[in-house]
Every structure is written in structure tokens, then in C-alpha cells.
Symmetry: C2
Subunit: 421 residues, 2 copies
């Protein structure tokens, strides 16, 4: 029988409405296998917790607290934007990880993140093997950007998709009812700097012809100002109003972000961020139409109150599968969502080789975007539709979502050697 | 027995998540009194519909469609930002209204709006009386700004309050979990140009010490840059992060809106709107901290998916009460929410004299804001808390809220005389 060893779980990169549901899946499943997995430690602030030997003992949390992770957005143990350098550039960092793992008898490494962390997870697996330290490294997929390869979709994305589609539908109703005497053009800026998946999800709100949103601006399609203005003009003339979803990563043909369009405050300081005001201003300058704009920013990825039930289930499932894969002896793999059918939507969890996942970015296929570049196709709807299915409301108290805060009790240090990041 | 006459209903000003719930209350109640109220007409695009004799026959809508108004945001018949001038300045407009009412035998005028429309409603009542035309004018309160006097709160506000409190709590969890290596300061801009009620509602999210939001910037408190920066600095040093809710109407001591702080694009065009980026930029300039900002804009007032159950019930109740007041012979009044007790929260619908409502703006009392001007007091929580109680989710289809679109069948014109607005 395999030796009982401890496990380490860390959250990486931008958090989502459901990354804690994956944590819940990992922890609850590990607790069911106490014969094989001893303690499950979490990294405080993600991988920094491992580097700094700042581990959290998840066994100190009640079953109820862990269950509440399923409906709590954000990263319960802290996440980090910290990309380990290449093995050649900073081998010391990887060796430090192995040193900490060794000190705490960690045999399982669960890393919950996007493309960068898949790469880190793979490298940790390779180095531990080269160093003769037995470690199984499993990547747990997470990213609102939906840009990981192999997996049909990425946990975290479905909930953002549901949020932006719901929000732009609601704002569309609002603008439509006021357009006669007030705002004619409304612009909603959404995330997705390189891939237009979230922008595409806005398009789900327009189920019938003429419904908002009327125009989507994808990062994959270079911004053509004249064509855009003509489209807005035609839409307002036809429908009386125009609702636009725009990616924060919208670029001109020469690769410049529109959000860096040179906004300056009264003192001449560069004003960073915000493609929505740039687009709205353009509409005003060219067409003299009254506009409003919104920037959803973190609200969209934190909006657990309107999470997709499908997304929550998948986030939990990949966490659970990660532990099961580890127990079956897998290493350097990632549980991946496999689409079995569209109608009815059926999915299962398969296994992806990390070497094929790391550092590959999945953008929107061209045939998911209409020929004019301003909306999504039926093929895209078929893909996106199932991902926003179902509601999974958190419990409320005093009129507000009751999210959990863990105790996050530190594990006594064994090394005691500081590590400089 | 009183003569059977027709009724006219119109929506006015910025729409809300629950103004259609008031419409639902008006229409369903009118339908129960067919012995007294004949047809219920709605104004297409609010009062413009009356001026242009563009009436909608609500009797063409099914009971199911009218019931669906209860969970559909925006203005189902179209609303208008159109303020009638004073009687002295444009008596012709008021006379035209009476002319259209007369042509369609309208004896009941239900006007659903904020302070301006209360004033219009009162004037229409006065002029019809002066002209010897029998009309009962009842104002139905609605405004996300919560700034009407006499009524304890305004339908529309509770749902925005629930949305902003939920959103800033969720974003707060997000920022807190990432702050070690990423964003330290997050700014959410909310509505309420003159009154800080919505900003105050953000504060409900911080139920325990140290919870987000940490700082609120009210339109009632002149912005003191040095004090604000010192507060952000202290908060980040203590908590590791800082979440800020700011009113779009934040002003400096000399009455200048911060959103007009002089942002210009690369071509020198003024960039309108957005106090959040101005505040965020200030934090970056002074404290060199990484920031993010969001502008909720129309998303907040259209967010029917996270409406307050209390608010929906009150919106329906004032619509219902308006019809009942009319049937009892009232004129130039407004149904008002009366708070009976806080724990448990109990309310009823009373009656306010329109002369006391029109053109009075209720701002936040100073004792609802903490001494330092940056948060809400316990007294404010006691007032606001009940207004966001309960969830009232709309039905969903294909993963999205299923909102109704009415047929909005036009009533044949009787006058045929055009009216120039």
C-alpha cells in the first residue's frame, strides 16, 4: 500500500467566483482519503506560502466552513500574481519549493490557476523528479479568460459569462426604455485582455434580432473606427439605441490598446485603463449622441451571487478529480472538462497532459465571430450557451450574501530559513 | 355611484429595477375595479405619450404579461427625461395634456417618478381643477436616489442598495485575497449625484470591523484630498488593502464635481464622467499603490436579478395604493412608505400631500455619516438595513433572466392634432 503523505494546495493568479469551489472539491475529497493523504496544507497567498514556508493547516477548518467555500468567491487562502522564472533563470526558487515540500512531507502538489501556473506546475514536477524527490503535481484549471487549451472550458469563465450576459441584458432594457429622450448609446467594458470569450458571452443576451447588445468589440478583431461608427449610427437609426460590449483588450490594427489612447488628467498625468470611456467619447465626438458607460472590472469575476450552476459544478469537479488523479498515481496532468453533447449538455472530466497545456493560449475561433466582426455566430452560441446554465445562489443573511472567512491557522515552520522572493 | 372613467399611467425619469413592479400594482389593481376604471392607458415614453397622444392600451396585455412586469427591470412603456416647464412658461403643454385626457375620457392620472414628476403631477391636478376638468392626479414614488421627502424610502432604492452592497462585498473579498502581490486599492463608483444614499448602502457590506468597504466618499461631504489620502494610506498599512465606494456626485469644497476634473483624450477632447478613475489615479500618484476601479452605472439600477424583496413589495404596494387612493376620491397625493418598526421591520402605506413632496430633496442626515465623514453610523445601518432584506429572483431561461416585452398596442388617436414638444 502507498505511503500516506501530506498535500499542498495553492491558488494562483486572478481569483474567480468559483475558485474556492475547486478548493472545496480538493479538500473534501482529500478528507475522504485519510488513509492516503495526511494533512492538506494551503499556501498563504498562493505559491508565496510555499516559498516563504507560510502554510495553512486546512484540517483546522470545520466541515461546514469548507462546504461554504463552494459558494464563496475570491481566494480563501490568498492568491498571488507571482510567476516563477524559468528553471535556468531561477533554479533556486524551484529548489526552495522542493525543500519546503520535503520538510513537510508533501507528496501531492495541487496548483489551481491558469496558463502560467500550469507551466509552473509542470516545471515543479520535472525538477522534483530530477532531484529524486517523489512528488505528484496536478494542475487544477481556473481562469475567467477561458483561454486554456484542451479543456472544453475553464472553471471561472461560466460565471463571468452569466454575469456579463445578465448585466448587459438588464442595461439594454434600461437604455431601450429611456432612449427617446435620454441615453442612446451604452458601452459595457468587460475583461479578457487577449481572448474575447467574455466579450462573446455578452452576446448571449441578444437571443432575438435587434436585442441588446448590438455590437461587440473583440480583442481578436482590430478596431476599425469608421466601420464601428457607421455600425453605431445605423443601429441607432434603426433601433433607436445601441448597446455595446467591449473587451478591455481592444486594439487598433497596429497593436495599440485603445485603453492607452492617451487620456490625461488636468495635470497631464496619464490616465490608465478604461476602454469604455474612450469608445463612448468617440461616439459622442462623431455622432453627437448621448452616452453612458460602465466598467465592470472586479465586480464581474467576483459576482458569486449570479454564478453559473454549471460552472460551480465544474469547478468543484476538477478539484475533486485532481485529488483522485493523484491517488491513481498521475503526475504533471490537469483534469479537463470534456463536452459529451450539446443538447442536452453533458460533460465529464478527462485528463490533459500538462506539457500540452502550459503556455498555450486559446483565443476565439474566427468562425465564432460574425463576418463583420461585430457579434457572435450561432456556432459560438452553441458553445457558450450551456456554460451559463443554472443558478446557484449563495445563502443570504441581513440581505447580503453570507460568504465564509476561514481561520487560516499557520502550520509551525520546520525550516525556519527565510527566503527572499 | 361614481361614473366609470379611463385612467392614464406614465413612467418618468431614470428607470429602476422595480418601477415596472409599480406598473404591475397599478394595472392589476385597476383590473380589479372595472366597475370604476374603464381602460388603463399608458404613455408611450412617459409623459410624451400624453402630449403626443401616443397612448398604449394595456388591456391588450395578458394577465401573465402584466404579472411578469413585477420581475422585469426598466420602463415597460418607455420613460422620459422630460420636465414640463412652469405653468407660466408653457401653459400650452399642460392644456394639451388636459385636452388629450378629455378626448380619451381619462379621469385618473397616475404618474410614476421622482421629485420633478411629483411637481408636474401637482400642477396637472391644479390646472385641471382651474379648467373645470375633473381629474384625480396621483403620484407613484420612484427613484434610486431615495431623495423624496415624507416617504420613509423610495421604491427603486432598496434594490440598488442591495446591488451595490453585494457587489462591493464581493469585490472586497477579491481584492483582499490578491492584495499581497496585486491590487491594493479598489474604487467603485455609484450613482446619487446630489444625495449619498447609494454610497451609504455600500457601507452595509462592512458588518464587522475591517471589512470592505473601508472608505465612503459622499456628495454631502466636500472632498478633502489630504485627509482622504492619509486615510487610504493608514488603511492599506493596517489591513493590506483598501476598498472605496464613491458617489458620482463627489465635490470639492468649492462645489466642483471631481468627475469634471479635466480629463482629456489624446486630441484634447474633454472626457466626461467617471469619478472612480480620478480617485484611483490620485491614489496612484500620491501613494504609488496598484489600483483597479469599476463604474457600475446603469448596471446598478437595472440589476433586477439581485433586487431587494422588500423593495419589490413596496414598489408593488405603492402602485396598488395609488389606484385605491384614486378610487377613494383622493387627488394630488402620493402613497408613501411608513416605517412602523425596525426589529422586526414593519411598514405600511400612508398618504402624502403632493404639495409637500414636490421639489424637496432629502439628503443624508449628518448623523448618518461618521464624524470623519468616511463611513456610515449605526443609526444609518438601522435605517438602511431593512431596505435590502430578502431576495426576489426573476425566472431564468437559457441561463438568463426571462424579462417580459409587452405588445404596447397603440390606442387610436381621437384628436389627430400633432403637438410640437
Amino acid at each position: 500500500m502507498a505511503k500516506k503523505r501530506n498535500a499542498f494546495y495553492a491558488q494562483s493568479g486572478g481569483v474567480t467566483a468559483v475558485i474556492n469551489a475547486s478548493a472545496c472539491g480538493v479538500i473534501e475529497t482529500a478528507r475522504k482519503h485519510k488513509d492516503r493523504i495526511g494533512k492538506l496544507y494551503a499556501g498563504r497567498n498562493g505559491i508565496l506560502g510555499a516559498l516563504e514556508e507560510d502554510l495553512i493547516d486546512t484540517s483546522k477548518e470545520s466541515a461546514a466552513a469548507i462546504a461554504a467555500l463552494r459558494y464563496t468567491p475570491s481566494g480563501a487562502f490568498g492568491s498571488a500574481r507571482y510567476k516563477l522564472k524559468s528553471l535556468e533563470q531561477n533554479r533556486a526558487e524551484y529548489e526552495r519549493l522542493i525543500e519546503v515540500f520535503k520538510a513537510h512531507d508533501i507528496g501531492y502538489f495541487f496548483y489551481n490557476g491558469g496558463g502560467d501556473s500550469a507551466d509552473t506546475c509542470l516545471k515543479v514536477s520535472q525538477l522534483s523528479s530530477a532531484m529524486g524527490y517523489p512528488l505528484q503535481a496536478i494542475h487544477v484549471p481556473k481562469t475567467v479568460d477561458n483561454d486554456l487549451p484542451i479543456t472544453d472550458c475553464c472553471p471561472g469563465f461560466g460565471s463571468v459569462a452569466k454575469y456579463v450576459a445578465t448585466s448587459i441584458r438588464e442595461a439594454g432594457f434600461d437604455v431601450e426604455s429611456m432612449a427617446k429622450t435620454s441615453t442612446k448609446v451604452f458601452v459595457l467594458e468587460v475583461m479578457g485582455r487577449h481572448a474575447g470569450w467574455i466579450t462573446a458571452a455578452c452576446g448571449l443576451a441578444s437571443e432575438a434580432a435587434g436585442e441588446a447588445p448590438h455590437i461587440l468589440l473583440f480583442p481578436e478583431i482590430p478596431f476599425d473606427q469608421d466601420k464601428f461608427i457607421a455600425k453605431v449610427d445605423a443601429t441607432v437609426k434603426r433601433a433607436g439605441f445601441c448597446v455595446i460590449g467591449v473587451s478591455e483588450g481592444l486594439q487598433t490594427a497596429d497593436g495599440k490598446f485603445l485603453s492607452d489612447a492617451g487620456l490625461r488628467d488636468a495635470f497631464g498625468h496619464a490616465q490608465l485603463g478604461g476602454v469604455a470611456p474612450v469608445i463612448a467619447n468617440l461616439v459622442k465626438e462623431k455622432l453627437k449622441l448621448k452616452y453612458h458607460w460602465a466598467v465592470a472590472d472586479y465586480l464581474q469575476r467576483a459576482a458569486r451571487h449570479i454564478a453559473s450552476k454549471t460552472d460551480v459544478a465544474q469547478a468543484y469537479a476538477v478539484g475533486k478529480a485532481a485529488v483522485e488523479l493523484a491517488l491513481k498515481g498521475h503526475n504533471a496532468v490537469m483534469p479537463a472538462i470534456v463536452r459529451k453533447s450539446n443538447k442536452p449538455y453533458k460533460w465529464s472530466v478527462g485528463t490533459a497532459d500538462l506539457a500540452k497545456v502550459a503556455n498555450v493560449e486559446k483565443k476565439m475561433p474566427r468562425d465564432f465571430i460574425t463576418a463583420d466582426g461585430f457579434h457572435i455566430t450561432a456556432k459560438c452560441r452553441t458553445y457558450l450557451g450551456p456554460l451559463i446554465q443554472g443558478e446557484d445562489y449563495p445563502p443570504f443573511r441581513n440581505g447580503l450574501p453570507r460568504y465564509v472567512r476561514l481561520k487560516n491557522v499557520a502550520v509551525p515552520k520546520k525550516l525556519g530559513t527565510p527566503f527572499k522572493l
